[in-house]
């Protein structure tokens, strides 16, 4: 050590330039004089090896003579000599690192070939390093990986020797396929993939004939054991104690599947055949599919065959179908699940595989999840060293299988078949009467009796599920009797089956999709549809145990099942059931409809959340948390949609989401666009830099002082829903440019104690505006007005504007919820606006008409502010055309009437978005006048009754919702079982004890319209929506 230092320090023999041929020559001398590794020269050797790497790379990039010298002196042989002495990890590691650097950095191809040409590298690869040393192991495997990245059609011949059937780089590497260190395993996998993608026929033949069966059978066994471990973890963790471990195991399984898919995607026919064969017969069928039959209640029965819980097997199979797309594999697996019976455990997938034109007959192996008979290392040895003549691939397969079944009697295929049939019989023994009934009906191909729905000749799809135990199990799992724990996975599996590009459409025709066969065109699987609809209906029950994610997925599946290119083929009876569910969800939500401030924010927030984050099944299936029984507590850290609600607020949130989901489904089935949501239509809002006609508008001059102290002179305009700060337009008198816009509903105004001309105004960012992280207010500033009076006026108008903006939205929600009373507390637009707009409306607003003529259960009441919607919309220039004169007159009329500032937006950029539905705040003081022409009030009562009588046992009944009826009695019943009218209070009390009905009733029991308004406003003030000073 000291010596090495002094050597370098003295620089006696060392050339001054470390990057020169001379320096390499000097290093060569050092190496040749220190061929025996000793305690004393270790440091020197390491330093020399390190320097060699550096100088060689320098030479490769700058001076070819350096490399020539290295090769000429065969310096790599020194490396080998050093290595073969037991030199300890210190030298070994540097040696491997030097090699790593060499192969990683060499750019010159000839140099690379020379380095590889004398087989030294292969000798290094097969050298038995001390792999118990984790550092040696890491450097060694990195070295192999680095080499594999250099593989191509030319370099492969340096590593694979056709004549000796030798490929140490690959065979040495795969011996570490199950190394405990994950990084080592990953390196091995990288290497294998790098090898497989080299296009060299003879090499690939070697891989297939000599290594594929041993490697894949071991790999599959390794994966299977991981799954058993995962199963144990799930079973033992009902209390969510080991989420970390569970999530690792799930992620690991995903890694396995991705790895398998990466291999299969390389599309190497021969290799894929062996892999598919092993996967199906040694893992997927005997373990995954077999476990489908293991419903929980039978798990007490001793089963000697390895299996996991049926829930887990549904989860794992979903992952398989979400990730792997190799056609022969997924197709065979899908058809086994959808049509197969217990025989597959004895026969395996051979038949299917043969029919799938991918297996040339003989190669398939007997099914069974069994350990490989010998270690991979041994199999590789025997395979590669045995005489070249016995290179028939089948040899290794059959011997392996025979010995397997010989040694492990209970895993014998014949026994497996027996077990399988026994199991299927036992299923019948252990079930409840109800299930038995269902089972019988399933076997007879008739839908369960519960809702006696007429079937439009769909028997063909239900050709007895009896011989399809796996499909039957999946369908039966869709019952959410206790909770939706297993149902969610069944849904996922069905979804994954339907979305896998490798599963042929033919197989799913009439099962998961509308039939396209001529004889049964547009028929759908009514049994499945009914199961899905039942989940949807169940979700609308108070305190039900169906999670939001389950509902969303159910809806997704249902639309796939019954819709084709936007067209719904749902039978009327099923559609009626959906509409019934929609009513129930509306009912459920009505109980949470409060005038409490948070309800509106929640409503809008939930909407934007759902729009921003639609369900992603792939991500859902990565979440190990759903493997644990559903909980209600947020303390597990589980996302809201994946657990049950906890507390009143979350129940309200849930009700809101259920409402949105089912509403969307209903609209989609009716092929109608959503025109009432979101509540704020961004289209109709003023944007920054819009030009506004402010003639005759109320403008309040002010100076805006920001927190940083900057002062800007602006004019404050208070629109129906927005606060706008404008700057006069220099080109047109009376016009202004919007410099800032914010929603009145998010405003907070306080006076200034010391300055009566001052207001502190904060405008919060709407939750729906996107970045939920950024909760910095949109604006927080001091506004200084010209005088005390103007300040007061501004404050009053802002405060009132906020209340009204919120009231307006609450009215819109009430309208969405068919709450009838609201109409009375709400004004209608003045008659002249109606006149001014109806004619134009007829053409332009035709698009929205249908939604007010819902086929069932239409209970729309007269809509507050409807006329203004029309007018307002008209007043906005539609994309591409606009009429300034009309607009001007509209706005001015409105202005004159309401005293509100109205702006026009000439030249403002607009996105074409016809579905917009913004109802601006109308003057609350104006007179009520229902506008039947636009809102097309349906008389809902008879239709509702129709619906109710159609589903006497399940549908809620709605009393007449006629708007003229006294409000107190029109409280719709949230009950689902009692079809008669009950006093609202009782209903609330019975059904939802936690829901405080006070606000609700105050909304619905207003005796007269004027009083309603007064009370409304009083109430809002009392609640302190705006801080008045």
């Amino acid at each position: 050590m000291f010596r090495s230092r002094s050597w370098f320090g003295s620089g006696l023999w060392k050339p001054k330039n470390p990057h020169s041929l001379e320096h390499l020559k000097y290093l060569y001398n050092v190496l040749s004089k220190n061929q025996i590794v000793s305690e004393n020269n270790r440091g020197l050797l390491v330093e020399t090896l390190r320097s060699i790497a550096e100088i060689l790379i320098w030479g490769d990039q700058n001076d070819s003579s350096v490399f020539d010298f290295f090769l000429e002196k065969n310096m790599l042989s020194f490396f080998l000599k050093i290595m073969k002495q037991k030199c300890g990890s210190y030298v070994c590691v540097q040696l491997l690192q030097t090699l790593n650097i060499l192969f990683e950095n060499i750019r010159n191809e000839t140099s690379l070939y020379y380095l590889l040409s004398n087989n030294h590298v292969n000798s290094i690869i097969v050298h038995k390093f001390d792999f118990s040393d984790e550092e040696v192991m890491a450097y060694y495997i990195s070295f192999l990986k680095t080499l594999s990245l250099k593989l191509n059609a030319h370099t492969i011949h340096f590593f694979y020797n056709e004549h000796t059937n030798d490929f140490p780089l690959y065979t040495e590497a795969i011996k570490f396929f199950n190394h405990p260190e994950s990084m080592v395993r990953i390196a091995v996998r990288t290497l294998t993939l790098n090898v497989y993608r080299v296009e060299d026929k003879s090499m690939l033949k070697f891989i297939r004939d000599k290594t594929a069966a041993p490697y894949f059978s071991n790999l599959v066994w390794f994966i299977g054991n991981h799954i058993l471990e995962l199963d144990t973890c799930v079973r033992n963790d009902a209390d969510h104690q080991s989420q970390n471990r569970l999530s690792d195991l799930v992620a690991e399984h995903l890694d396995h599947l991705h790895y398998l898919n990466d291999i299969l995607s390389l599309d190497i026919g021969d290799l894929n055949q062996v892999l598919t064969d092993h996967l199906l017969n040694k893992l997927l069928i005997p373990l995954y599919v077999y476990s489908l039959t293991k419903r929980r209640r039978h798990s007490q029965l001793e089963d000697t065959k390895p299996h996991v819980s049926s829930v887990l097997s549904l989860f794992l199979l979903s992952q398989v179908f979400l990730i792997i797309t190799h056609v022969p594999l997924v197709h065979v697996l899908a058809s086994l699940i959808l049509t197969g019976d217990m025989d597959i455990f004895s026969q395996g997938a051979s038949e299917k595989l043969t029919s799938c034109h991918m297996a040339q007959g003989t190669a398939t192996i007997k099914p069974g999840f069994v350990a490989p008979t010998e270690t991979l290392e041994k199999s590789l040895e025997s395979n590669t060293t045995c005489s070249i003549n016995s290179s028939e691939p089948e040899t290794s397969h059959t011997t392996e299988c025979e010995t397997a079944s010989g040694t492990q009697v209970d895993l014998d295929p014949a026994a497996a078949a027996e077990n399988g049939s026994v199991d299927s019989k036992e299923v019948n023994v252990n079930i409840t009467d109800e299930e038995k009934e269902q089972r019988l009906s399933l076997e007879n191909g008739v839908t369960p009796p519960a809702p006696p729905l007429p079937l439009a000749g769909n028997n063909y799809q239900q050709q007895s599920l009896a011989n399809k135990p796996f499909l039957e199990m999946i369908i039966n799992t869709l019952q959410c009797s206790e909770n939706d724990y297993a149902a969610l996975f069944a849904l996922c599996l069905l979804y994954a089956l339907g979305h896998n590009p490798g599963v042929s459409r033919d197989l799913l025709d009439g099962v998961l999709f509308l039939s396209e066969k001529p004889s049964t065109e547009n028929w759908y699987n009514t049994l499945l549809a009914e199961r899905l609809i039942r989940i949807i209906s169940t979700s609308c029950q108070p305190n039900c145990r169906v999670r939001l994610v389950t509902l969303e997925l159910t809806i997704r599946l249902l639309t796939k099942l019954v819709m084709k290119s936007g067209q719904s083929y749902l039978h009327d009876c099923h559609l009626a059931a959906i509409e019934g569910a929609k009513e129930e969800s509306t009912c459920l939500l009505r109980n949470f409809y409060k005038s409490e401030e948070i309800f509106l924010d929640m409503f809008e927030d939930e909407y934007s959340e759902m729009q921003k984050r639609p369900l992603n099944v792939e991500w859902l299936m990565m979440d190990s948390n759903i493997l644990l029984p559903p909980t209600g507590t947020p303390m597990t850290g589980i996302e809201f949609s994946k657990r049950l609600p906890c507390g009143e607020v979350e129940r309200a949130q849930r009700a809101i989401r259920v409402f949105f989901l089912i509403r969307e489904l209903s609209l989609m089935l009716a092929m109608e666009p959503e025109i009432q949501l979101p509540l704020t239509n961004p289209q109709s809002c003023v944007q920054v830099n819009n030009l506004l006609d402010l003639n005759n508008s109320n403008l309040i001059a002010c100076t805006v002082v920001s927190k940083e102290g900057s002062k800007i002179r602006r004019f404050l305009v208070i629109d129906v829903i927005q606060l706008i700060l404008v700057e006069p337009d220099t080109r047109r008198l009376g016009w202004g440019v919007a410099k800032f816009v914010g929603f009145l509903q998010d405003i907070e105004v306080t006076g200034d104690k010391d300055d009566s001309r001052c207001l502190h105004i904060t405008i919060h960012r709407p939750l729906s505006s996107g970045s939920s992280m950024n909760r910095v207010p949109l604006l927080s500033a001091r506004f200084i007005f010209d005088d005390h009076i103007r300040c007061m006026a501004a404050k009053q108008r802002l405060t009132k504007g906020r209340i009204k903006a919120r009231q307006k939205k609450m009215h819109m929600i009430a309208q969405l919820l068919d709450l009838p009373s609201i109409v009375q507390s709400c004004p209608s637009p003045p008659a002249y606006t109606v006149l001014a707009t109806t004619s134009r409306l007829a053409s332009s607003r035709l698009g929205r008409e249908p939604s007010y003529h819902r086929p069932l259960f239409t209970a729309n009441t007269k809509v507050p502010g409807f006329a203004t919607v029309a007018m307002r919309r008209e007043s906005l220039p539609p994309p591409g055309r606009f009429s300034p004169t009309n607009k001007r007159s509209d706005s001015q009329e409105r202005l004159a009437h309401s005293g509100h500032v109205v702006r026009s937006r000439e030249g403002s950029p607009k996105l074409p978005r016809p579905r917009s539905e913004e109802i601006p705040l109308e003057d609350m003081g104006s007179k009520l006048k229902p506008r039947g022409g636009i809102s097309s009030v349906a008389s809902p009562a008879p239709e509702v009754n129709n619906g109710a009588s159609q589903f006497p046992s399940r549908r809620p009944s709605f009393p007449s919702l006629s708007p003229a009826a006294p409000v107190g009695t029109t409280e719709p019943l949230p009950t689902v079982t009692v079809p008669t009218l009950e006093p609202p209070v009782a209903a609330v009390g019975n059904e939802r004890p936690p829901a405080p009905p006070s606000e609700e009733t105050s909304f619905t029991q207003l005796p007269s319209e004027n009083e309603a308004i007064d009370k409304d406003e009083r109430k809002t003030r009392r609640r302190g929506m705006v801080e008045t000073v």
Partner: protein, 212 residues
């Protein structure tokens, strides 16, 4: 070589930003900066000392393996720290950070410490990405940030060591489950099984620390 903990790192970022050079510079810093010599390596290990404890860092470069989804996925999951590298002289490498970060966040465990590194700080004249931009990006996404030069070795030590400090702190806070090796953290063996006559770093080679 005994250690208290072993931390596994990965290095990610566009090709050509100098990932493997950073790695080599850190693990084998005797590679003297020479003009027109770029040299890197895919794997390296080094011992450092934090809080009086020996900590071994293992750094795995993931370059060239992007073609396989299974591989990137697994690498992310197995690491306790990630160095996300961009090249300050190439704007596009900075623009791709979001994608890298998304990938990392999606696949890694949530506790993984990510350090943002603007490499090639020696090439000031060709700079395309301002230091402030890197800082802002890091702040926005909750990353540690540093500008380094693999060539001059400026800040290279600090980058790796600060990341390790952060991981170490998380261990102290109990955020990391150290018994779960899938997190990229391993508790060291009590005593070194290997050659006791060669205490770590004594040769001043692989170990940056105590050189005699």
């Amino acid at each position: 070589m005994s250690y208290a903990y072993l931390f596994k790192y990965i290095i990610i970022g566009d090709t050509g930003v100098g990932k493997s050079c950073l790695l080599l510079q850190f693990t084998d810093k005797r590679f003297q900066p020479v003009h027109d010599l770029t040299i890197g390596v895919e794997f390296g290990a080094r011992m450092i000392t934090i809080d009086g404890k020996q900590i071994k860092l293992q750094i795995w470069d993931t370059a060239g393996q992007e073609a396989f989804r299974s591989i990137t996925r697994s690498y992310y999951r197995g690491a306790a720290g990630a160095l996300l590298v961009y090249d300050i002289t190439r704007r596009e490498t900075f623009n791709h950070l979001t994608t890298w970060l998304e990938d990392a966040r999606q696949h890694s465990n949530s506790n993984m410490v990510i350090m943002l590194i603007g490499n090639k700080s020696d090439l000031e004249s060709r700079r395309e990405v301002k230091k402030e931009e890197g800082e802002a990006f890091a702040r926005e996404h909750g990353l540690i940030f540093m500008e380094t030069s693999a060539k001059t070795a400026a800040n290279v030590e600090e980058a790796f060591i600060n990341t390790a400090k952060e991981i170490y702190e998380k261990i102290q806070e109990g955020v990391f489950d150290i018994n779960n090796e899938a997190n990229g953290i391993k508790i060291g063996p009590q005593h070194s099984p290997t050659n006791p006559s060669l205490p770590s770093g004594s040769q001043g080679s692989m170990q940056g620390g105590g050189c005699c």
